[in-house]
């Protein structure tokens, strides 16, 4: 019995499944249900233990349909890695009950869906704009909103907080000191804004405002051909750009139903793990800076430069590499590149030991981080934590192990987990992950498969330049693919990879044209950051700074 059938059996009698549609397509399980049942079904699936994560909530717009909007819930089970997509249809002006009553994780995702599409969630306490500015009119991801219709904002919002049951977030407490931090503040990484109310140095209430780097990634994806979206994905988590390239291309390839050659897989794994290392370098290095430890930053960044040199050798760019293409890689690695990578690994290994001593065994560092803002495993799952932060809470969840791709199951590596879920454990896990990444890279580099670096399907991949200029067939193929574009079949899929910060998911809908119909990114730090106001309540202001640093928030993927 497939998972979908067993689910159906389970629901018989409990729900009126006559109106339900059970669909299995492109490897994903989907259930379409009427909107009245959404909350009850979510609650049932959660309490019956079938699914423990709510990964994403998003909207889709079909302006020509009678009920214009889809609201899509992505569920995930950490036990067997199975996923379920629940979809419901809403007409303009209709509302669905908020999923925050089942999962806290739904909070910001629903706000985003409202901001982007104008779908309402009844019972959501803070249904206000999240990514666009407060003077924005309309909902930009609707199909009838022009991609470049800019609206100016002439004033920043004053200090405000989230509404709570029986309490208006805009009314400040007269007995407390309001304090605004950011977005232009060294600890706020240029784009985050945190507002707090203080009693002495203790935080009584906190709130965050995001969207200062909302660059309309999803709208841009809808207006560009599939391969031209790749450079935009670079700029999601720009600290580890190749991982976003890989995640996106993997989703498109899944929809196309193609598998990339072993050599391309190996190269992607190497790129991903190198990126994981530099991402953690930035997280640990700047995390130290936020605590006042500058040495680690300079130390570590020397090694990040070395990885950038490797990237530069591979493709000419340092940060925004755009190295993958749908179907494989853009080009093969130059001669000796894999040896260079191995040499770097050897170097880096000693460096990780050094940084362990410098940070993790440093008395001040320990005092500042141990026992600060701990998160329990249950809470973390509730909020939708993934990646190093979830593992720091003691949950052994890594997509590379649970649902392996690109041959991760053939590789020997461990998944480090923490125990307390405090700031110290978060760094502990990150630093240990660097070691594991080095292990992975070394294994892959030592036997890189031969063969081609990309598939050669004429409808997907451009022919080699020598063919384009050398023979008429190559020229024709090139011409057709450029004019017609790469066109995946009509359908939709959700695909996730384990990025440096956690689960990076791409929900891709194709209408058979040359551009994606909808591309929703599930950024790991978006789910994590929404827990921040709750987490820091009652702590010291300096601990809040340390907490925000440990979350490694990358505005590019947070705000998209």
């Amino acid at each position: 019995m497939t998972k979908l059938e067993s689910l159906k059996q389970d629901l018989i009698g409990k729900f009126n499944i006559k109106d339900y549609k059970f669909i299995h397509s492109v490897g994903d399980d989907i259930v379409e249900i009427p909107k009245a049942d959404v909350l009850a079904l979510l609650r049932h699936l959660k309490s019956s233990g079938r699914f423990d994560f709510l990964m994403d909530v998003c909207g889709v717009d079909y302006p020509n349909r009678e009920k214009r909007f889809d609201v899509v819930y992505h569920l995930f089970s950490s036990k067997d890695g199975s996923r379920l997509r629940i979809k419901t249809q809403l007409a303009e002006g209709e509302a669905v009950e908020t999923a925050t009553r089942a999962w806290k994780a739904a909070d910001w995702f629903e706000r985003e869906a409202w901001d982007m599409f104008g779908v309402k969630f009844t019972g959501h306490l803070n249904l206000r704009r999240i990514l666009t500015h407060h003077q924005f009119v309309g909902h930009p991801l609707r199909k009838d909103y022009e991609a470049d219709a800019q609206q100016h904002c002439d004033v920043a919002l004053p200090i405000h907080f989230d509404n709570e049951e029986g309490r208006d977030g805009n009314v400040l407490d007269e007995n407390l000191v309001p304090l605004n931090i950011g977005p232009s503040h060294p600890a706020m990484h240029g784009t985050l804004r945190v507002m707090v109310e203080l009693e002495g140095e203790t935080i009584r209430r906190a709130g965050c405002e995001i969207g200062y780097l909302h660059r309309c990634f999803e709208k841009m994806a809808e207006t560009h051909p599939y391969n031209q979206v790749i450079p935009y994905t670079d700029r999601l988590n720009y600290c580890s750009a190749p991982m976003n390239n890989v995640g996106y291309c993997k989703a498109v390839e899944k929809l196309l139903g193609v598998e990339i050659p072993p050599r391309a897989q190996a190269m992607r794994v190497i790129l991903c793990e190198l990126s994981r290392i530099i991402d953690h370098i930035v997280a640990v290095g700047t995390g130290g800076v936020d605590l006042g430890a500058l040495t680690g930053f300079f130390h570590l960044f020397t090694y990040r430069e070395k990885v950038y040199t490797l990237f530069e050798k591979l493709c000419g760019a340092r940060l925004t590499v755009s190295m993958t293409r749908v179907g494989g890689m853009a080009q093969d690695a130059p001669e000796g590149w894999f040896d260079d990578v191995l040499a770097f690994c050897k170097d880096m290994r000693g460096q990780v030991d050094e940084i362990t001593k410098l940070m993790l065994e440093n008395k001040i560092f320990i005092k500042r981080t141990q026992g600060v803002t701990p998160v329990s495993a249950k809470e973390a799952i509730e909020w939708g934590y993934t990646g190093p932060l979830l593992r720091a809470c003691g949950v052994n969840l890594d997509l590379r192990k649970l649902t392996p791709y690109y041959g991760y199951d053939q590789l020997n590596f461990d998944v480090p987990v923490g125990t307390n879920g405090d700031i110290y454990d978060r760094y502990l896990v990150r630093i240990e992950e660097m070691r594991q990444s080095i292990r992975i890279i070394e294994q892959v580099c030592k036997n890189v498969p031969g063969g081609d670096y990309t598939i050669r399907d004429k409808g997907i991949v451009l022919p080699d330049k020598k063919d384009v200029y050398g023979n008429i067939e190559g020229l024709m193929n090139h011409f057709m693919l450029i004019i017609k574009g790469l066109r995946p079949p009509v359908g939709e899929t959700y695909d996730a990879t384990e990025a440096a910060n956690g689960e990076l998911g791409f929900y891709l809908i194709s209408d058979g044209s040359g551009t994606p119909y909808r591309l929703k990114v599930r950024p790991p730090c978006f789910a994590i950051y929404q827990s921040f106001p709750t987490l820091v309540r009652g702590t010291m202001i300096a601990d809040a700074i340390a907490t925000i640093a440990s979350m490694n928030l990358i505005a590019g993927e947070l705000d998209r």
Partner: protein, 222 residues
Amino acid sequence: MSSKNSMNNSSDNSASSSSDLLRSALVDSLQDPTPGTGYAGLTPDVALHQAQLRAGEDLSRSFAFTTRLEAVVAWGRKNALWPLPYGTACCGIELMSVMGPRYDLARFGAEVVRFSPRQADLLIVAGTITEKMGPVLVQIYQQMLDPKYVLSMGACASSGGFYRAYHVLQGADKVIPVDVYVPGCPPTPEAVLDGLMVLQKMIANNQPRPWKENWKSPYDKA
């Protein structure tokens, strides 16, 4: 002290004669034993200032003289830029490399990074500026003390880059005056260093900056 006649000889050598004048005035003041006016107890630049004042009396504000003064000041300014790294996006990450050990902005005298606009005179806009960020950027710029300069790093800060999108400002210069644009997405650290050197040259030459002089905040209602 040399006479005013030397000033009237010809316009060609006025610059050199006035600098001689300055030097002799400076030497005078350094040797001046009077407390409070001489070198004793004073920092050299105060002494220099006094020397300039005296020479100024003699020269009654000759054009050549002020040029020299400005040259000295510009020399100081250009080699002690204090940047405020306004890193909002990917370019900000590359800016870290510029500051970091390999490219080392300190070699150009601009390593004293200040996150407080009151302590900085070079605003490096590194990254996309969104509509939401616009008012914040303007506020930061207004809080900086004169003289101040703006370097826009990368395609986004210079023109919106490849984000021709509903929430992206099409260049920081839509709201603040920009002195140097560094192309790239992101620019290589070398390009940023080059941009800084261009700015240094502008400062050294006292290049007029009408875009700054005529700037008004786009958000001022009045």
